[in-house]
């Protein structure tokens, strides 16, 4: 499989009152066509910033200051604005956590769908786009789709809204979908429905998927590969099955131990003790070392993301000893 998206050394910085904050710092990742990459890490670890950087949607004064973002062979950071815009929605799309806030309250679902179709030349006028828009709503499982086009977002139920938003994201038939916690706001049944939908699209249309979540169970079920982020950095990545069975980073192990297990519900949970470091004050050393049970003095030196087995990477000098 050749990579559809390949990111190397991505660094995205926000100036803040307490100094610059590198919300993504030296991030490497790849996603192939038809592949689902799970992106996990606690809130504030830089998952959203990383993929907003890929989409060119980091809001000023935030800025991508370094790195290479290759999509289908093209370096997106060198692309003129207009060309990048033409890729957005058409080649790579975004689905957000909360459809109620992601959909514009002042426009109907139909208008928001048709507009995307027209913007990418899939229809000449919004009127002409309506049948396609209805088909998209139908595809994500919204009953009487054609009649619901003229509804406003607030007239949809939560689950339908989430699916409508995904339909809008998919309107331009993108090759990569960044799904940023697309199911966090949903209940268990709806969560499964939405994830099934994404799975189908991946299998049938070869959609590449970046599934951002802090739910490791979702990743275990749905994503062949996983990438774990901590304090703006990738700390571990590899095939999901292997990472879960034998993590190569103490943070990943901590995450796994803090999860309840279906087969062993009485196992005591171990939340990771300690606090995430303040991004404005991190040094060059390992960012996990204030919480790490394996920490040694050498961990204060710079720790690169290094190979830790076939197709596996870890940002830990004691990767081999983690079990």
């Amino acid at each position: 499989m050749s990579a559809l998206l390949e990111v190397r050394g991505l660094r995205t910085v926000f100036p803040t009152r307490r100094g610059p904050v590198a919300a993504a710092d030296g991030v490497d990742l790849t996603i192939a066509a038809g592949e689902a990459l799970g992106v996990v890490g606690e809130s504030g670890s830089g998952k959203s910033v990383t993929f907003l950087s890929v989409l060119g949607l980091v809001r000023p004064p935030g800025r991508v200051v370094a790195g290479e973002i290759r999509f289908d062979g093209r370096d997106l950071r060198r692309l003129p604005r207009a060309e990048l815009r033409a890729l957005r929605g058409r080649q790579m799309a975004l689905a957000m956590q909360d459809a109620l806030s992601a959909l514009n309250p002042a426009f109907t679902i139909g208008q928001q769908l048709c507009e995307t179709l027209v913007a990418h030349g899939l229809a000449r006028t919004e009127a002409e786009a309506r049948p396609q828009a209805a088909a998209l709503l139908d595809k994500v499982g919204i009953p009487s789709a054609a009649q619901r086009l003229d509804d406003y977002p607030h007239q949809f139920s939560g689950g339908m809204r989430q699916r409508a938003m995904i339909a809008i994201a998919l309107a331009g038939r993108p090759r990569l979908l960044v799904a940023d916690e697309p199911t966090t706001a949903l209940d268990v049944t709806l969560r499964a429905q939405v994830l099934d939908l994404l799975d189908d699209l991946r299998r049938q249309d070869g959609l590449a998927l970046a599934l951002i979540t802090h739910d490791l169970a979702v990743v275990a079920e749905r994503c062949a590969r996983v990438m774990v982020m901590y304090a703006g950095q990738v700390v571990e990545s590899g095939p999901t099955a292997e990472v879960i069975v034998a993590p190569r980073h103490p943070y990943t192990r901590g995450l796994l131990e803090s999860l309840p297990r279906l087969e062993d519900p009485d196992r005591p949970l171990h939340p990771i003790p300690g606090q995430v470091p303040d991004l404005a004050r991190v040094d060059a050393g390992c960012r996990f070392r204030n919480r790490c049970p394996l920490a040694v003095p050498d961990c204060a030196k710079p720790v690169p993301l290094a190979e830790a087995g076939v197709g596996r990477l870890s940002r830990c000098i004691r990767a081999a000893e983690v079990a």
Partner: protein, 335 residues
Amino acid sequence: MTASRLVERLLQTLPVLFGISVIVFLMITLTPGDPVEIMLADSRATPEQAEQLRRDLGLHLPLHERFLVFLGNAVTGDFGVSFFHRRPVIEVILERLPATIELTLAAMLLALAVAIPLGVAAAVKRDTWLDRALSAASLFGVSLPGFWFGILLILLFSVTLGLFPVGGRTPFDLEVARVSGFLLVDTLLAGRLDAFAAALRHLALPAVTLGLPTAALLARVVRSSMAEVLTSDYVLFAEAKGISRARVLLRHALKNALIPVVTVAAIETGSLLGGNMIVETVFGWPGLGRLVVESIFARNYPLVQAAVLLYAVTYVTLNFLADVAYTALNPKVRL
């Protein structure tokens, strides 16, 4: 908004209107000075004639009865006779009202035309020199004293440069049939482009004087509303769809950002209607504001009373319309 909600909201305005009529009634009734004496000041009326006038005006009745009479008359548009015009107050007011409305609407349109682009630009270029310059300019604009600014404009554009007339609403020789009372409309109806242009030239400076502080105020509202909308998820999502930046800003963001602006603009229109006495006086604009000023000096109480009541009713109505507009624009809100 459903019809019943609309009616309910309308009924809510009644207590306010009632309260205002009480205040307006008491305001004049409790003012020191006997209206009969004022009316008869220049005549040589006998005490019997004065007493007769007092009875004719109903001034011998107890306060609450006088209020009921006042209220009944007000509802039917009967505000008595203007002392110095010797014509019904309502007639005099209606004659002057279109000039004031025309000036107010022109000022408001001008304000919106200035405020929306500048407010949007400031929000889009947030925290840049442009934003700061506009913010300073609007602070200056909000605090401009109207009479001073009006005189300044007259001195510069009328006296020195001769570009605009010094005052008034029309040149003296302008003869156009009065249909609506709005000169810009009547001149067009008469097919008189020359007269239309003349009316526009007369309107320009007073409209700028009246509209500029409002423009400054609205620009701040647009800026803060737009800035907030620009950080919303739906703007990010719209950008992620790959539609043009202009469309994201002018369609997705602006439509939402304008919702509070419409509300403020409607309420400000009410303030402008009631607050243009200074501008009308400076520019010799033959509107209601100037009439009220003249009437206050002349102690022409019936007219002042009617005008204050009219201002209040207009203000309440515009607030009501602002609410309706807010709901109409914002499908999420149901009053």
